[in-house]
């Protein structure tokens, strides 16, 4: 029903107050595509992590820049791009240091550094382009084992009569 060439673009100020609007939009699109609630939660967190990073790391002046998001629904996946025009960073270098806390002792813990790890753990693909600013491209596949849920979602989409 939602075709592959169409997309939604959302631009928000690089301000944490606006990230919830992005999550709500994502929720609206993803339910219509037939994603399960768990998949949608995964995407909400991953996209928020990308936005958090723009707000925390991309712009030197607080409340200056913008975050540009593009949601492109495909038949079998949702591709989400999160772009900023801020200072860039070396993703390959950074990603090497990225790790969860499973093997740590409590005194070794640091409070930060979980964002990129979570994006990678929650999405099927994470690609980062850094140059004039940063573009993070997050991809989530529509799972096929979830076919039952999706069929019933699709019913609601096409509005079939129940009962």
């Amino acid at each position: 029903m939602i075709q592959t060439t169409k997309r939604i673009r959302i631009t928000i100020p690089a301000d944490a107050e606006f990230i919830d609007v992005v999550r709500l939009s994502l929720y609206g699109l993803a339910t219509r595509m037939g994603f399960s609630f768990e998949e949608i939660e995964d995407m909400k967190v991953a996209v928020s992590e990308a936005c958090n990073n723009v707000i925390l790391h991309a712009y030197t002046q607080p409340d200056e820049g913008e975050i540009e998001l593009t949601f492109t629904p495909h038949v079998d996946r949702l591709v989400i791009s999160v772009r900023d025009q801020g200072t860039s960073f070396n993703f390959e270098q950074t990603v090497k240091g990225v790790e969860p806390l499973h093997d740590k002792e409590i005194h070794e813990l640091k409070a930060g550094g979980l964002g990129i790890y979570m994006m990678q753990a929650l999405m099927d693909e994470v690609v980062v382009h850094s140059g004039a600013g940063t573009e993070v491209i997050l991809t989530k596949l529509l799972s096929h084992q979830g076919g039952k849920t999706h069929a019933s979602e699709a019913n609601h989409l096409s509005g079939d009569i129940h009962g």
């Binding site: 609206g28 339910t31 219509r32 399960s36 609630f37 849920t149 019933s152 979602e153 019913n155 609601h156 989409l157 096409s158 509005g159 079939d160 009569i161 129940h162 009962g163």
Partner: protein
């Protein structure tokens, strides 16, 4: 576990009447579907037609326009349209547009509180 906003219709049929429960958001994306379901039923003069709006979470001019079209069809076949369990949110739009006065409320439930539809 489904998105409560996605529109669907629950259909209940008795010997004397049909009740459609409209569930979720009735907007432009669902208008053609809704119309295709309700119009044939509206043309049947032998049965009452009731729309239960308890779980209708959203409606705009698209859906209201279909209600108007259905009202006219019911009038033509010498029947009425019963609309029941209207939430305040939806009632407000029915009042605002003036559609309320054409709807026959269910006597026992809504007549007193909503007051004075024909």
């Amino acid at each position: 576990m489904t998105n409560p906003n996605l529109f669907h219709i629950h259909h209940e049929e008795t010997d004397t009447g049909t009740t459609l429960y409209l569930i979720g958001q009735l907007d432009l994306s669902m208008a053609v579907h809704f119309r295709s379901v309700v119009e044939p039923l509206a043309m049947n003069a032998d049965k009452t037609l009731t729309l239960n709006l308890r779980d209708l979470r959203y409606i705009d001019s698209t859906g209201l326009g279909i209600l108007v079209a259905i009202l006219k069809v019911r009038e033509e076949v010498g029947q009425t349209l019963i609309v029941e369990d209207v939430t305040p949110k939806v009632q407000r739009l029915l009042d605002l547009t003036g559609i309320s006065k054409f709807l026959r409320p269910v006597p026992d439930q809504t007549a007193e509180q909503k007051g004075g539809a024909v």
